[in-house]
């Protein structure tokens, strides 16, 4: 059991709030939320972060690890300042997502699952985000969705992120 906690007090408060959604003795139900909270604060889920969540929720580390590795949005490696996930599934592809992807790759000089040299941005290929009406769709750091990102919008988007 890890003795020192890794997250801020606010993060544990947020986890407690999640735990309260479920019946007593069902703390494990909050594991996905707890990992998302940890990721939001630390940027990614290191092994020690996983162990921390495990001990906080009284789970076996391997059980938390199973969850962390199963769901696609958990970062098991440290990403750049921004993780940009872009959907390339069929509906988005039909609306030109691949052109957007090519433009992103060209401007950043990276491929999927890579981080640019400035450490600004990690590019991720994603599956359907349930927003195909707004295709092409990207998500910034798991939480902020942008729709209709055509080739012509890529440069502006990158400028904006750099400026933040």
């Amino acid at each position: 059991m890890s003795q020192t906690r890794m997250l801020s007090a606010e993060a544990y408060d947020a986890i407690d709030k999640e735990v309260a959604k479920y019946p007593p003795n069902r703390k494990q139900s909050a594991v996905m939320a707890a990992l998302a909270i940890a990721q939001n604060e630390l940027g990614w889920l290191s092994e020690s972060a996983v162990e921390d969540v495990a001990s906080y929720l009284e789970m076996r580390a391997i059980a938390v690890w199973e969850v962390a590795t199963f769901y696609g949005m958990y970062n098991l490696k440290k990403p750049g300042r921004y993780k940009l996930s872009i959907c390339t599934n069929l509906p988005c592809a039909l609306q030109g997502a691949n052109k957007t992807v090519d433009q992103l790759k060209a401007l950043l000089g990276i491929d999927f699952n890579e981080t640019d040299l400035d450490g600004l941005l990690t590019l991720k290929e994603a599956e359907c985000m349930g927003a195909c009406g707004d295709a092409p769709v990207v998500i910034i750091n798991d939480r902020e969705m942008r729709g209709k990102i055509g080739v012509e919008d890529v440069e502006k988007l990158l400028e904006e992120l750099k400026a933040r």
């Binding site: 092994e47 580390a61 391997i62 590795t69 696609g72």
Partner: protein, 783 residues
């Protein structure tokens, strides 16, 4: 009851049964991988797909409930095509490296592939590679590309071992079986994962590449390490046991065995085996013929002309009943009453009744208990599969469980209440329970404890014990070895009578009951094991006993033995006994002789030799019979083990009668005063219980085997200002040793753990008692 038809045959099954159950009942084999009768149903391999009439698609037999008038076809076109389709998928990413796979010849995938696989593969892509996983010294996961994702190993951990150490990590095709980054598997039952793995992904590390499975001879035997008596199959290449697997026995070990039972065989092949009779002449050892050795004993004996009262005989509970019977008979013929097997028992005083070391019930009935109180046992490590039955009682029968131990032992059950009580406080704690129970039941409080205070923890145990019907008070090895053992047992019996609980006594080795039955205990006038070693006698006979390891007070015992004039050690190993013996006689370990062990439920299990005797070694029963004849005693003419067994018949009748006898204890010991300062807790670690396991290298390289530390709780470590690795001096009975410190928060407050069978025990002695500790060097200075 439900009637259904499989492959045209009618069968009746209980409602709730699956199609697989029904097929098994008919003796119809439905191919499968993920299904395992002792594990939950996963239905993930899909190998068991069968055709069910009126169902639109094939259904998995393992998970499909049997329904009235269902018609199932396991070999129809639809069923076979489904099974073949699944087999094709299973093989596309499998390396098909059977020629170099340890599982080759006993692989379920290989067997079924012959029947269901296509001849060539339609898969032209490159195969998935899965990296090696490091799981520790026992289980090899070097070949994980062979894994077929049946999750049996994961379910075994969660459901049987009670601890999830492996998981299926990742998703889809990228799923891999592994432990959490950097963790090894540490369950005391981990080796069973090797058996449940249907392919060669998880294999035995010590066995790896030792042989092809078809070269092996297979012979049945019985575990020599604990009182459960797990049934084993020893597998041999040539003359050596090179693998041990479970022999299923629903009443005893089901289809499991502990790691100790599985991997200890390495000890049998140890280079330390004693293979020739040896006598010590002028301080050095000489190999001699049997005849010379025996004559030497006889001659030495007559020159010594020892007073029979100065002859001591120490047997170990690893000896067979046949050996034990002849051993005591020989000693008693010599005129001595000094014979004892209770080598680790510090307090051998009578409890006032004939309380035999047995479970008080059958092993299977443990699952049906409503409440269980364990006093002084790290149950998972002491009797691993009994602990499994207890987990079943709690998980499946909602039994309540409380434990009283010097440290939290982690039963893997969240509902268990564990009270950490320093060893010397155990008797008084139990008296408090008796008082609380008496109050609750409205019966008279025994006068001796009328004045004592009941702590809240004792009250909690009392609350648990007054409800429910089927109860067991289980007294473990820590209590059996306790300096106040007889008091703990007496109070337990009184408590058991009050709350109508059975009493179970767990003892050392596989055959304590055999030793009791054959009277390897001194009658009134004789000396106990501890008394025999407290002051030197002239002559000692040792049977399977290694007194530097097996004694409750090793340093004292070794001194006594060293100053004796004749020490005859009948042993399978030489190093330890050569320190104090004057004659070493090579005898067979359990694996090379016929014998009988009587397990904790009183069941007698006979076994034959699985391997030929090594070198000149011989079964001890033959040797003792020969000695008896040589000494001119009548009644030692046993030409076969059957003859010995005939003589044992009345012994067994007496035992059976005694097991059933009601034990009456009504005299409550006076209230006891615990030790004020720091006291020592000296357990026998799981992998040092006997001579064989102590010599098994793989087990000795597990974390569990580490014993040369001084463990202390966080309060004591703070008081002492000690951190892990600091050197601490510990003094007991005026003797002292320096040891590296390890902090263990599960220890009771004023307790330090210095285990038995450690180097320390040979210097400062054993059992419990007050100790002083001082820090002598800090870790940094040390390095």
């Amino acid at each position: 009851m439900i009637t259904l038809e499989i492959d045209g045959k009618k069968v009746e099954v209980d409602s709730g049964s699956t199609v697989m159950d029904a097929a098994s009942k008919l003796g119809i084999h439905v191919p499968h991988f993920c299904y395992h009768k002792k594990l939950s149903i996963a239905a993930n391999c899909r190998m068991c797909l069968v055709e069910v009439e009126k169902a639109p698609k094939p259904l998995p037999a393992c998970a499909t409930p049997a329904t009235q008038d269902m018609k199932v076809h396991t070999r129809s076109e639809q069923a076979k095509s489904a099974q073949k389709g699944v087999m094709e998928f299973l093989l596309i990413n499998h390396p098909l490296d059977c020629p170099i796979c340890d599982q080759g010849g006993e692989c379920q995938l290989q067997d079924l592939a012959v029947g269901y696989g296509g001849s060539g593969s339609r898969f032209e892509e490159s195969k998935r590679m899965v990296g090696t996983k490091e799981l520790g010294p026992l289980v090899s996961a070097a070949e994980m590309s062979r894994c077929i994702h049946c999750t049996r190993c994961v379910r075994f951990g969660q459901e049987v071992a009670g601890i999830m150490e492996l998981g299926m990590v990742g998703r889809g095709e990228h799923s891999e079986i592994m432990s959490f980054v950097g963790s090894t598997v540490e369950s005391e039952l981990s080796g069973n994962m090797i058996d449940v793995c249907p392919v060669g992904a998880l294999t035995s590390k010590p066995f790896r590449y030792a042989a092809r499975t078809w070269e092996l001879a297979r012979r049945k035997t019985v575990s020599p390490h604990d009182a459960l008596g797990s049934n084993l199959i020893a597998q041999l290449k040539g003359d050596s046991v090179i693998r041990v697997v479970p022999n299923e026995n629903a009443e005893i070990n089901e289809c499991w065995i502990s790691d100790r039972d599985r991997f200890s065989y390495e000890g049998l092949n140890s280079l330390d085996r004693l293979t020739e009779p040896m006598i010590k002449i002028d301080g050095s050892w000489e190999e001699v013929d049997w005849a010379v050795a025996l004559d030497h004993i006889k001659e030495k004996f007559s020159t010594l002309n020892a007073d029979p009262n100065r002859i001591g005989a120490l047997s170990a509970p690893q000896a067979t009943t046949e050996e034990l019977y002849l051993f005591q008979k020989f000693i008693r013929e010599l005129g001595s009453e000094n014979v004892d097997y209770r080598l680790r028992q510090a307090d051998c005083s009578n409890t006032g009744a004939n309380a035999l070391p047995w479970l008080g019930m059958s092993i299977g009935d443990v699952e049906k208990l409503d409440s269980i109180l364990v006093i002084g046992s790290n149950i998972r490590k002491e009797q691993p599969l009994l602990a499994h039955r207890i987990r079943k009682a709690v998980n499946q029968n909602s039994a309540s469980l409380a434990l009283i131990n010097p440290m939290r032992t982690d039963t893997l059950l969240t509902s268990a209440q564990e009270f950490t009580v320093s060893p010397s406080r155990v008797p008084i704690f139990m008296q408090q329970i008796v008082k609380a129970v008496s109050v609750q039941l409205g019966v008279e409080i025994p006068a001796a404890i009328n004045h004592i205070n009941v702590e809240p923890d004792a009250q909690k145990v009392a609350d648990m014990l007054v409800v429910g019907k089927n109860k067991l008070i289980l007294i473990g090895a820590l209590s059996r070895h306790h300096p106040d053992r007889s008091k703990i047992e007496k109070i337990s019996h009184i408590l058991g009578d009050l709350v109508d609980a059975k009493i179970g006594l767990l003892s050392d080795g596989p055959n304590s009951l055999g030793a009791e039955a054959t009277k390897n205990i001194p009658a009134r006038s004789g000396l106990t094991a501890r008394e025999m070693t407290a002051n030197a006698l002239d002559v000692y006979f040792l049977l399977h006993a290694e007194m530097g390891e097996d004694s409750c007070d090793p340093d004292v015992a070794i001194d006594a033995l060293k100053s004796a004039k004749l020490v005859v050690a009948m042993s399978a190993f030489k190093d330890e006994v050569s320190n104090y013996a004057t004659v070493m006689l090579p005898i067979s370990p359990f694996s090379e002789t016929s014998g009988t062990f009587i397990n904790m439920e009183g069941k007698r299990q006979q076994f034959g030799p699985v391997a030929p005797a090594k070198g000149q070694s011989r079964p001890a029963w033959r040797l003792i019979a020969a000695l008896g004849k040589l000494f001119g005693f009548g009644g030692f003419e046993y030409e076969s083990i059957e003859k010995v067994r005939e003589a044992l018949r009345s012994v067994y009748d007496d035992l059976d009668a005694n097991l059933r006898k009601k034990i009456d204890i009504n005299e409550m010991p006076d209230a006891l005063r615990p030790i004020e300062g720091i006291e020592r807790f000296a357990d026998v670690p799981m992998y040092s219980v006997d001579a064989v396991v102590r010599r098994a290298p793989a087990l000795q390289s597990t974390k569990e085997a580490i014993r040369d530390y001084l463990w202390l709780g966080s309060d004591l470590s703070k008081e002492l200002g000690a951190v892990n690795g600091d050197v601490v001096r510990v003094e007991q009975d005026g003797k002292h040793i320096e040891l590296p410190a390890q902090i263990d928060v599960s220890l009771a407050g004023s307790v330090v753990r210095v285990p038995m069978t450690s180097n320390a025990s040979k210097v400062i002695g054993g059992i419990g008692g007050p100790v002083q500790i001082t820090k002598v060097a800090s870790f940094e200075a040390n390095v």
